[in-house]
């Protein structure tokens, strides 16, 4: 479908009530039999599955419209109610109207002047603040309720009592009198259109008396299909069950009335009918027991069908199932471009793209048709200009078919390399959760994606699955390519920086390649550059004697544009009080001059994902997204190739501390224990000074926690400074590739305090956490301080406390995801209609202005430079350097 096909656009939807006449007019059959099929399985005439209600079995023609299953829309029937029944959804509205009108003459209980005043007001509201008119209507209704004597006929007004869900009483002096539905209906009939309008109704579309049902529409059978089980037993839909109940009682009521049965019996049946109607509309109405299935399961009636996450609205109308989609497990592929997605042959053969045959592609299409549905570059269907589809699965001789196609035919061909598809991972939390990729058809059964697009999708490969959609129209493909292609999404609108970039080994590799000592031979350099797709010449070697050697920095520089200038403090920077800049002994000061990496190492700050001001960010801002894609595709591959040649592993050796360092750690930890003990004894002597606003116990807790935290930190520092120089775990933590110094300290030195709810562990037995301790023991060990490191082993008690902390973490994540998910749903729902208009203002759907200029300066955060509209320094730098030439 293309835009030109949308000839008929829906402009508005009007809501209203069906009048009894409407219901009868649209009905095709008056249903009087409370049954569905007879013994032979034939629908009973005037029963709930009457053939006139539409076809549900394939092959049958509809008795009303003559269409077959797909075409017949289904037709409504109706049930004539023996006595009127209140529509439970409008019970409250009916109550408000009864209260506000005279029982005798049916007028709105407002004195003439007031009535006129409100009529004028309503007119004005309707024109100027249509949304507010309902609030005014509420006010009018309330006001009218206060009148105790009708200003028109002078009758005294009785108080009306409403008992949920559908009972009304009139409070007379002699006692409460129940109002029957027919009485209510006749009172509502007396209301004038004008009065109804004042009470917020639209009398043309919703007369008040229509809220009391005299006719009930019966939905077409297609809306409540019966299921035939394998055993041949028919199972009816919940709605059908409910309708059976309604008809049965209705008929009984009718018979009893006709037979002149006693009032009591009639009233009982009437009430029962009311109950069935109520549960038919909403089976979760408060105040009455829900109607149940024989098995005890509550029935799913109309309201339940619409409501909630699995209801019609959220599940079928706001979100729709689609064709041309696929889902499978994902796995990494560092070779393909970030713009690409690897698609298994099996999937490529099932997903198709309609391609119209023209004189340029005719021959190609013929080949595809001959290949058919089973060989890869093939086709599954041909669509002739008259709309007929030819299925290519069955004909044996596809050659003749291929020869018969002409220009103007359409071929549904397999997905092939270069096609545009949308790729998505749930939860789709931001727009980078659905991006356009180019197809790369590959063997095996998984979707393949470049590792650098993992951050925006938040994907890993522990079994994650992702979805793929194939746009079918040229418009859709064009939009996907221009707006949604991965490279166009590198810069996140959240903060105006790159959200994609290097992770883990990319960072380690970048660091290992660019650190000072890295030198490679001609052979190695050639190998590395070839594998990363570099097609230029090798630069002059940095060292010529005794053999030609290139520095890693030289290689890394090859992918920068020749006029690229850049400085940055890298992740390994220790943040010395005075920065020595280029002279930094850690090589943490990155300088790129004219496309040459002069000093500094490339690590997380330079190429990491989600790092504003990184090399990647600057390249994209200054040279465009093509450059960004080029850099990720090529240079990043160099880092990986390099780490491939050198290798990077961690093992138990990396968690080994020299004995003397271990001693230091135990001293530090021991000191902390002593200090804690001292604090406790001070507290026991009652000498502890209370912190303002805290109890003594809280003060002690805070102080102990401070002490222990300090100890863990110290232990961590000792660990950090005593690990061997070539420690790879340390390398990864320093460069930001993976893990932190704290993780490392946990492994080698001391795990530290375990916390539950932000406090030391306190729960357990009376006055103690475990029976191993004395009651009232406040010491570190008794409240979850883990002295050991992971490598040393945790003793059973420590392990237990550690598990407590760990469990809390898990619970926390679970709770957080649901909470933040709901918050996001609300945010999206509230803000989704807000857009920037042609005049630059930001407005909601109703045209109300929220901002005169978006964000007060009109700058799109996605196009901003980390939030700044323009990076003036960069421009100055560029202009000056250009002027120097």
């Amino acid at each position: 479908m293309s835009l030109s096909d949308i000839a008929k656009a829906m402009k508005a939807i009007k809501f209203g009530l069906l009048s009894p006449e409407d219901i009868r007019k649209m009905s095709v059959v008056n249903i009087i039999t409370a049954d569905t099929y007879d013994e032979d399985g034939v629908p009973i005439e005037a029963g709930l599955m009457d053939r006139r209600l539409g076809t549900i079995e394939p092959g049958q023609k509809c008795q009303t419209c003559g269409n077959r299953v797909g075409q017949c829309p289904g037709h409504f029937g109706h049930i004539e109610m023996a006595r009127p029944v209140i529509h439970p959804g409008f019970a409250k509205t009916v109550y408000l109207m009864l209260r506000a009108t005279c029982w005798n003459c049916g007028k709105l209980l407002l004195a003439k002047e007031e009535y006129e005043k409100y009529t004028l007001m309503m007119e004005r509201y309707k024109r100027r603040w249509p949304q507010l008119r309902f609030k005014l209507a509420d006010r009018i209704t309330k006001k009218a309720n206060k009148t105790s004597e009708c200003p028109y006929c002078g009758q005294e007004q009785y108080k009306i009592k409403f008992e949920k869900p559908t009972t009304y009483y009139e409070e007379h002096k002699e006692g409460n009198v129940k109002l029957a539905a027919n009485e209510i209906r006749s009172r509502l009939e007396r209301l004038t259109d004008q009065d109804a309008a004042l009470m917020g109704l639209d009398p043309l579309l919703a007369r008040p008396e229509w809220m009391v049902l005299t006719v009930l529409p019966v939905p077409p059978s297609a809306a409540r299909p019966s299921i035939t089980l394998e055993s041949g037993v028919r199972s009816e839909d919940d709605l059908t069950h409910k309708l059976v109940d309604i008809i049965r009682i209705n008929e009984r009521l009718k018979e009893n009335i006709d037979a002149g049965a006693p009032q009591l019996i009639i009233e009982d049946l009437w009430e029962l009918l009311q109950y069935h109607i109520t549960t038919y509309f909403d089976n979760e109405t408060s105040g009455i027991p829900p109607a149940r299935h024989r098995s005890g399961r509550p029935l799913r009636t109309i309201a339940q069908r619409l409501k909630g996450k699995e209801g019609r609205f959220r599940s079928n109308l706001s979100g729709k199932r689609v064709d041309f989609s696929a889902r499978t497990v994902i796995s990494p592929d560092p070779i393909i471009s970030i713009n690409e997605v690897g698609i298994p042959f099996d999937i490529a053969k099932l997903l198709t793209i309609p391609e119209r045959i023209n004189k340029y592609n005719l021959e190609q299409m013929k080949i595809l048709i001959q290949n058919g549905p089973d060989d890869h570059p093939g086709a599954n269907y041909i669509i002739r200009p008259d709309g007929r589809r030819i299925d290519l699965r069955f004909p044996k001789d596809r050659k003749t078919i291929a020869d018969s196609v002409e220009v103007g035919y359409e071929v549904e061909r397999h997905l092939k390399n270069g096609d545009v598809v949308l790729f998505n991972r749930q939860p789709s939390l931001h727009r980078m959760s659905i991006m356009a990729h180019r197809v790369r058809v590959l063997p095996y059964k998984t979707f393949r994606l470049n590792l650098c697009v993992c951050p925006p999708y938040n994907a890993d490969f522990d079994g994650d699955e992702m979805n793929l959609h194939v746009p079918q129209s040229e418009e859709a493909r064009a939009e996907a390519l221009v707006l949604m292609l991965v490279q166009e999404q590198i810069l996140s609108p959240r903060y105006g920086g790159p959200i994609m970039g290097g992770i883990q080994d990319y960072i380690s590799g970048g660091y290992m390649l660019t650190r000072k000592e890295t030198q490679v031979t001609r052979e190695e350099a050639s190998q590395l550059l070839t594998s990363s797709g570099f097609d230029g010449d090798l630069p002059e070697p940095a060292i010529t004697e005794p053999e030609e050697l290139w520095t890693g920095k030289q290689l890394a520089s090859l992918f920068f544009p020749k006029d690229f200038n850049y400085t940055l403090k890298s992740n390994i920077c220790l943040k010395c009080p005075t920065c020595k800049k280029e002279e930094c002994e850690h090589d943490a000061y990155v300088v790129i001059k004219n496309g040459q990496l002069i000093s500094g190492v490339i690590d997380k700050k330079a190429i990491g994902a989600g790092q504003p001001e990184s090399i990647l960010h600057r390249l994209i801002k200054d040279y465009g997204t093509d450059m960004g894609r080029f850099y990720i595709d090529k240079a990043f591959k160099l880092f990986l190739s390099f780490i491939d040649t050198r290798g990077l592993t961690i093992g138990l050796d990396d968690e080994e501390l020299p004995q003397q360092a271990k001693d230091k750690v135990s001293v530090v930890v021991g000191e902390a224990e002593d200090k804690t003990a001292k604090l406790i004894s001070i507290y026991n002597q009652g000498l502890l000074e209370r912190l303002p606003g805290r109890t003594l116990e809280e003060t002690l807790e805070t102080k102990i926690m401070q002490e222990l935290e300090e100890a863990r930190e110290k232990a961590g520092e000792i660990a950090g400074s005593n690990l061997k120089d070539g420690n790879t775990a340390l390398l990864m933590a320093r460069t930001g590739a993976r893990g932190s110094l704290m993780n490392l300290a946990h492994m080698v030195a001391c795990v530290g305090q375990q916390s539950v709810r932000g406090e030391r562990v306190i729960r357990g037995y009376q006055g103690r956490t475990l029976p191993h301790f004395k009651q009232g023991d406040l010491g570190a060990r008794a409240h979850g301080f883990v002295y050991s490191s992971y490598k040393d082993k945790l003793n059973p008690i420590e392990f237990f406390f550690h598990a407590m902390g760990g469990r809390e973490g898990l619970v926390d994540t679970a709770v957080r995801t649901s909470q933040s998910g709901y918050m996001q749903r609300r945010l999206i729902n509230a803000l989704q209609d807000v857009r920037v208009e042609y005049d630059g203002t930001v407005r909601g759907t109703d045209g109300s202005i929220l901002q005169f200029k978006y964000g007060d300066d009109g700058v799109d955060p996605a196009k901003s430079d980390h939030g700044k509209a323009v990076n003036i320094d960069k421009i100055i730098e560029r202009v000056i350097s250009a002027g120097g030439k």
């Binding site: 656009a9 009007k14 309902f134 805070t702 857009r835 759907t845 109300s848 700058v859 202009v879």
Partner: protein, 452 residues
């Protein structure tokens, strides 16, 4: 504007009130009290801004373009209104001191303008959705727990996801209301003076100064024993306390040394229990709902942090600096200072939560959400009882929450859904009016064929 805000937050030193006042400064119609604050806070900024402007005018009149600075100023005047003010000031600051040729200066300004126009948002952009996603997505990475407030260890303040939800919910009272009270010039210098102010603010009830309260069954009377030390510290004495208790009108009140004997008129057991509560919670001094006040020294001045918030009352207290008082209770700000101030507070609070969690979110997203919440003149919740519930579209409301009620009401009211929003059009299967869907011009293919 957004930049300014960011700087404030980053610097962290900008005082709360000052930041708030600045944030709302571009909008007119600022509430009276806030205007004062604004003037105060912006005074130095304006002064520095105003000077070059004057110089500009003089420079133009007095001498022909000779100096580079004058040239720059003339250049920038042309861009007034075309470039945002903060860019103009930045350009001026960065270029006036630099030594370069006029052509280069012009080039830089031109390039800046070019870059600015390139960075502008495009019509049709789904600014709302992007904002919602940008604020919502990092929610998954936030902590659930409440942490200590940076600086004031003793005060627990809700932070992270719960606080963000609270802001978006527009709750009338936050779970941990707190105020930051700055003192005026006379009081901010010394701890003694600060303490004086504290006694005026901090709510002191009988329970805070009573050592014990007992019910004497024999005489059917309460005996409240006043803790001399604390009472003195809070500048109270038994007599004052007794007088306050008299106002409760429960019965006879006598003083006996440190004790206050209250003989109530009622004697029923359950009523006595309730009376005891009433006596204990009787406010003697200070402001209602301010439970605790802590004094903090920041930047050479004493600042009060409170547990509990009551903006309107605190503003009346002598010794405070009314221009810099701040509370984290947004609806209170709306009540006392007006909706513009509340908008600024929402922005400040929400941004602070995100920033404090180390989440990088552009200011503009937060601003948009705050604008949506306050655009009607009162604070609306994001959700069913606010923005989403007040949408004009029936289908959009039904698709969000409380589906059935909205449909029934729509039927009774005879409402019409004009299908202008996103959800409605998704429901009926039409293109949505955002982004490329905003375009309402179509090419007629039949005409094209005819032309051929």
């Amino acid at each position: 504007m957004a930049e300014e805000n960011e700087k404030d937050t980053l610097a962290g030193k900008a005082t709360a009130k000052a930041a708030k006042a600045k944030k709302s400064s571009p909008k007119k119609g600022y509430a009276r009290k806030a205007t004062k604050a604004e003037a105060h806070a912006e005074a130095p900024a304006k002064a520095s801004k105003a000077k070059p402007k004057k110089a500009k005018a003089e420079g133009l009149k007095a001498t022909p373009i000779e100096t580079r600075a004058a040239y720059l100023k003339k250049l920038l005047v042309n861009y007034k209104g075309m470039l945002p003010d903060n860019l103009l000031t930045q350009l001026e600051a960065k270029l006036s001191g630099a030594t370069m040729e006029e052509a280069q200066v012009k080039k830089i300004v031109d390039e800046t303008y070019k870059a600015y126009t390139k960075a502008l948002i495009e019509p049709g952009e789904a600014a709302g959705t992007v904002a919602a996603q940008s604020v919502g997505e990092p929610g998954t990475q936030m902590t659930l727990r409440t942490f200590h407030y940076a600086g004031v260890r003793e005060l627990n303040v809700t932070l992270g996801l719960p606080r963000l939800i609270e802001i978006v919910d527009a709750r009338r009272i936050p779970s941990t209301p707190t105020m930051t009270v700055f003192l005026d010039d006379d009081h901010k210098g010394s701890l003694e003076k600060a303490k004086e102010v504290v006694t005026r603010i901090e709510r002191i009830a009988v329970e805070n100064v009573a050592k014990s309260i007992e019910y004497d069954m024999v005489n059917a009377s309460f005996i409240v024993e006043v803790d001399e030390e604390i009472a003195q510290d809070k500048q109270l004495d038994a007599e004052f306390i007794a007088k306050s208790i008299v106002k409760l009108k429960i019965g006879k009140v006598e003083i006996e040394g440190n004790g206050i004997i209250i003989t109530p008129e009622v004697t029923a057991q359950d009523k006595i229990k309730r009376l005891r509560e009433r006596i204990l919670t009787l406010r003697l001094k200070g402001i209602k709902s301010i439970k605790r006040v802590l004094i903090q020294k920041e930047n050479e001045e004493y600042i009060l942090h409170t547990d509990g918030s009551n903006l309107s009352e605190v503003l009346k207290i002598k010794g405070i600096d009314p221009n810099r008082v701040y509370t984290n209770n947004v609806s209170e700000i709306a009540e006392v200072l007006g909706i513009e101030a509340a908008r600024a507070a929402i922005i400040k609070e929400a941004f602070q939560v995100l920033d404090q969690q180390g989440l990088d979110v552009d200011m503009r997203h937060v601003i948009l959400i705050a604008d949506l919440m306050t655009s009607t003149g009162r604070i609306r919740q994001i959700g069913r009882h606010g923005v989403s519930g007040e949408k004009s579209s029936v289908l959009a409301r039904a698709a969000f929450e409380v589906t059935v009620k909205h449909l029934l009401d729509a039927a009774a009211h005879g409402e019409e859904d004009a299908l202008e929003g996103v959800t409605e059009n998704v429901i009926v299967g039409q293109p949505i009016p955002l982004g490329t869907g905003i375009v309402e011009l179509f090419m007629r293919f039949s005409n094209q064929k005819e032309a051929e």
